[in-house]
């Protein structure tokens, strides 16, 4: 009876302690209150290799992002999209168009590349990727349009990079958006919000050791 009373007296402190531990551990020390923030922190810390990201381009070639970065010796700025998207991906594509213009004007196409990666594995084909390229006026020398190879890759990307793709009732795909910076060794070295495209470019250029070009951009 006495122990019951003692338990009741300390119970508010136990509840506080419980929730403090839950909040602290789940927000990484009260720092990350959104999934995007958690994802960013994890990627910045781990700098994962993207060899698992196997893709097919609009010419039907199969490769992975790590090999793509190494073979071209470019720093890549990558985004996740799906070509039949009528909302978010269009604005991401618009940003890429502007970056493409900058890259071409500054003659940086040998150093920095863009990659749009579609996660709509069941729908996309060479044809849909090509038509997206035409719509975006994407230059092959700068901008690669690819799709994830299969569902297995998509699941890996979800697990390892925190990509969120949810089908809504109208069969549209709701997803998160970010620009990933992949260095020429095939590792992700940064992740940025769409509004932080300037910071993404700066980091991409730093990766190519082209400080002069950074000032120009």
């Amino acid at each position: 009876m006495r122990s019951n009373q003692a338990f009741i007296k300390v119970s508010p402190f136990l509840v506080i302690a419980f929730w403090l531990v839950v909040f602290f551990s789940y927000t990484d020390g009260f720092k990350n209150f959104t999934q995007e923030a958690k994802r960013k922190t994890a990627i910045f810390q781990q700098q994962p290799d993207v060899a698992f990201l196997r893709v097919m381009d609009d010419a039907g070639n199969h490769t992975n992002l790590s090999v793509l970065a190494k073979s071209t010796n470019k720093t890549l700025i990558a985004e996740f999209i799906y070509t039949r998207c009528t909302t978010l991906c269009l604005s991401l594509g618009g940003i890429f168009q502007q970056v493409q213009t900058q890259i071409l004007q500054r003659k940086l196409s040998q150093k920095v590349g863009l990659v749009s990666i579609s996660f709509d594995v069941d729908y996309e084909s060479q044809q849909t990727l090509k038509s997206y390229r035409n719509r975006m006026i994407a230059q092959a020398v700068v901008w690669d349009i690819v799709k994830m190879q299969d569902q297995v890759v998509l699941e890996e990307v979800k697990n390892k990079l925190g990509l969120v793709v949810i089908k809504d009732q109208q069969k549209n795909l709701i997803h998160n958006s970010a620009f990933l910076i992949i260095n020429s060794s095939g590792k992700i070295v940064g992740i940025f919000e769409p509004a932080e495209i300037s910071a993404a470019i700066t980091l991409a250029l730093k990766q190519t050791h082209s400080n002069l070009a950074t000032h120009h951009l």
């Binding site: 959104t34 999934q35 949810i166």
Partner: protein
């Protein structure tokens, strides 16, 4: 007897309403609508707990008139509601079924504790209602005003609509606060 039967039927109905948006039929309703998720499912889970508590009103724990019990109940209800208003948890729920079950259970428990608070004295009751209203107003304004997508699983306009709803809930609670205050001061 009829009243208990009525309450039981209502309880079962509310439980079904609380669970159904999480069922894959074939897609989860909470995945397509942030409004349904935050303004319908979360309150329904709490309401189910409140109804359960009123069916279990003979339970000794729920009838305890100890300040520490009220404080624990208040803290649990407050923190669990706050926890499930955080964008990171809303996103997690959409991709993890276990997390979704945890959400419904903790809010159901919050509802049970919430009911217990109505047996407490007016100061505790008003403190709880007031702080909860402030929290809802703050979260509501934040969801409305921020230009950043807080949840990866929902679009910005859905987030803003939810913010409006949360603000409305906050004002309703303030109204409830005033009614309770008048009632308690008359006693």
């Amino acid at each position: 007897m009829h009243a208990i039967k009525g309450k039981t039927v209502l309880f079962i109905g509310v439980v079904i309403l609380a669970i159904s948006p999480s069922l894959p039929l074939p897609d989860k309703l909470i995945a397509s609508s942030m409004v349904v998720h935050m303004l319908f499912q979360l309150p329904m889970a709490i309401f189910a707990g409140v109804l359960c508590a009123s069916l279990l009103h003979h339970s000794s724990l729920l009838n305890t008139q100890h300040f520490a019990v009220f404080a624990s109940c208040w803290l649990w209800a407050y923190f669990s509601i706050l926890f499930w208003l955080l964008p990171v948890n809303l996103d997690k729920v959409l991709v993890d079924q276990n997390w979704d079950i945890l959400k419904l259970c903790s809010l159901f428990l919050a509802g049970i504790f919430f009911k217990n608070l109505f047996h407490s004295n007016s100061i505790i009751k008003l403190f709880f209602i007031g702080s909860l209203a402030m929290m809802l107003l703050f979260m509501g304004f934040y969801y409305q005003q921020t230009e950043t997508r807080l949840c990866s699983g929902y679009l910005l306009d859905a987030q803003q609509n939810t913010g409006v709803g949360l603000t409305l809930f906050g004002f309703i609670l303030i109204g409830f606060f005033i009614v309770q205050f008048r009632k308690d001061s008359q006693h």
